[in-house]
């Protein structure tokens, strides 16, 4: 660990408050949403206080400043992801980003490379978050395409053995998560990307749980589309990113239509501006985009490699401590290779909801349930789990608080 999480924590004002009558906040729910450093909060505030105006629309000074800040945030995101500036689309979150991709493909006319029809295949994995599952179910239902998926092995890894049956000349899209929000599994992309590209399919990556936690370079990964949410990456709520390659964005039809995304409009026809404008109808979430840019600056200043190393060490520590107990069942990889800091588990037969409630009474925030990956938890035979998810502001003492909280819960519920 090359930085001190306790010093980092000082940058996050929420850690000054206490939980349930004076308990220290042990926040282990960053997989759901991350906390925000003061600089990010201040950047939204400063936008409203000093520069607020509709971007791209006014010839006045406020509009110029707002546009500069907004487009500056786009450049930051592009650099952070190893992308071109006009390849970065601001959305309201990963859910919108993924729906954008699926709906825009659904809007593709015959002849367009994204056109999907009966006989085509959409390939997913069994570990997808609902946000990267249901939009594809709906697209399949609308187009008649077939929906198929990679299974998950008992130890929580993707079963690649059927790759050649799944990814065939019929396959148009392979959509998968980079890191499972339930299992912590980091999926191997090279083999999938190569197989997909060999048959002319595009790869859509749900990077919600990777971009905030490790260095992600879109060119190195070789994927075609990428989505994530700002609020899980120290950014404001209400902003996310959809990235794709310039030549794909040129061919993809738009999704939301309205102001600022057009080239020309009559009562009955419209033509589109170039990306990114083409995909950003309406007055954008300006203050939030600017805030996300500042979050990215903050992460970069600490260093994504350092953050990943910190989380690796913390995860390894917590995984070891969980696995020591025979009453605790860790769902997901028990080894640290290609494994991130989402740890799901069950404790004896204490229902996760009860465990979570008990931990809350100790100031420990975890998430319980199916974590919006219901088909996965069902297939693993655990309709609900408790999940601890780690981030840069967590420390070994948070791990220890969780373990001791679990012990107390077992006593409380008489196990």
């Amino acid at each position: 660990m090359s930085f001190n999480p306790l010093t980092v924590r000082d940058d996050f004002p929420i850690f000054n408050r206490t939980i349930r009558d004076g308990k220290r906040l042990v926040y282990l729910d960053s997989g759901a949403t991350s906390q925000k450093p003061q600089v990010v909060i201040d950047s939204e505030l400063d936008f409203y206080r000093l520069h607020n105006a509709a971007v791209h629309r006014g010839a006045h000074q406020l509009a110029e400043e707002a546009t500069d800040l907004f487009e500056g945030a786009r450049s930051k995101l592009a650099e952070f992801l190893g992308a071109e500036t006009d390849e970065v689309i601001f959305t309201k979150g990963a859910t919108e980003s993924l729906n954008l991709i699926a709906y825009a493909m659904g809007n593709s006319p015959r002849g367009n490379r994204f056109h999907i029809a009966e006989g085509d295949r959409i390939v997913l994995t069994e570990m997808e978050h609902h946000a990267n599952l249901i939009p594809w179910q709906q697209l399949a239902a609308r187009t008649g395409a077939e929906l198929i998926w990679f299974n998950v092995t008992a130890d929580g890894r993707l079963d690649l053995s059927q790759i050649s049956e799944l990814i065939t000349s019929k396959t148009k899209v392979v959509a998968l998560t980079h890191q499972s929000n339930v299992l912590g599994t980091i999926n191997p992309l090279d083999e999938i990307v190569n197989a997909a590209h060999a048959v002319g399919a595009v790869v859509v990556l749900d990077a919600c749980q990777s971009v905030p936690h490790m260095k992600v370079d879109v060119k190195e990964l070789g994927v075609d589309f990428l989505a994530f949410s700002g609020h899980k990456a120290l950014g404001p709520t209400g902003v996310g990113i959809m990235w794709s390659k310039r030549e794909l964005l040129a061919e993809l039809p738009p999704f939301l239509t309205g102001g600022s995304m057009i080239a020309d409009v009559t009562m009955t026809t419209a033509t589109w501006a170039k990306a990114p404008a083409k995909f950003e109808a309406g007055v954008p979430n300006m203050a939030q985009a600017v805030g996300l840019g500042v979050a990215i600056d903050y992460l970069s200043a600490i260093g994504m490699t350092e953050i990943a190393a910190h989380e690796h060490a913390l995860t390894s520590d917590l995984l070891g401590k969980l696995l020591e107990h025979k009453e605790i069942r860790v769902v997901g990889p028990h080894t640290m290779d290609n494994r991130g800091g989402a740890l799901s588990f069950t404790v004896a037969d204490i229902h996760p909801h009860d465990l979570g409630q008990f931990l809350d009474s100790q100031g420990i925030a975890v998430r319980t349930g199916h974590h919006c990956a219901w088909p996965l938890t069902r297939s693993l035979g655990v309709p609900a789990t408790t999940r601890a998810s780690l981030y840069l502001y967590n420390s070994i003492e948070d791990n220890d608080a969780l373990i001791s909280g679990i012990h107390s819960a077992m006593k409380y519920f008489g196990k």
């Binding site: 349930r20 909801h353 009474s361 199916h370 008489g414």
Partner: protein, 146 residues
């Protein structure tokens, strides 16, 4: 706020030894309810006898609150007339929405007053209501069916 307000002895007892948790073979109506936010599920069989609920049996998975609540409800509402069921259910829902301001009338709600603490934990109210909603739904369907 003390966790013991939520996890009262009565609740943990019902959780460990739930009442009517064996699905009957015969029933007027079977319903299946889910709490999508946490994955709790319940299957519930209900039989009417005239204007009275004759039998409630159920099976399901869920947290102590949802399991105890359906156990309590099945016991409390079985044998009651439809209008009693309605007024008791309403009183229970009011208790749940009281944000800790009501304690519940034990003469009406019996063991269900032990769930009063749930009203201070908004995320758990749905757990406590799962069984009650299933009973309400099943009753409506059973009445309609006739």
């Amino acid at each position: 706020m003390n966790l013991d307000n939520l996890y009262q002895e009565v609740i943990l007892d019902h959780y460990k030894n739930p009442l009517n948790k064996t699905l009957s073979e015969n029933f007027d109506v079977q319903v299946h309810h889910i709490n999508p936010s946490c994955g709790d599920e319940i299957t519930l069989n209900l039989t009417l006898d005239g204007q009275t609920i004759k039998e409630i049996t159920w099976d399901g998975v869920g947290c102590s609150i949802s399991q105890a609540s359906v156990s309590i409800a099945s016991d409390l509402l079985m044998g009651k007339s439809l209008s009693e069921v309605e007024s008791i259910s309403e009183e229970f829902i009011e208790l749940m929405q009281s944000k800790g301001k009501k304690t519940g009338d034990e003469a009406v709600l019996e063991d269900a007053v032990a769930l009063a603490g749930v009203s201070q934990y908004p995320a758990r109210i749905k757990c406590a209501l799962l069984g009650w909603m299933a009973i309400k739904d099943a009753t409506l369907q059973a009445v309609e069916k006739r």
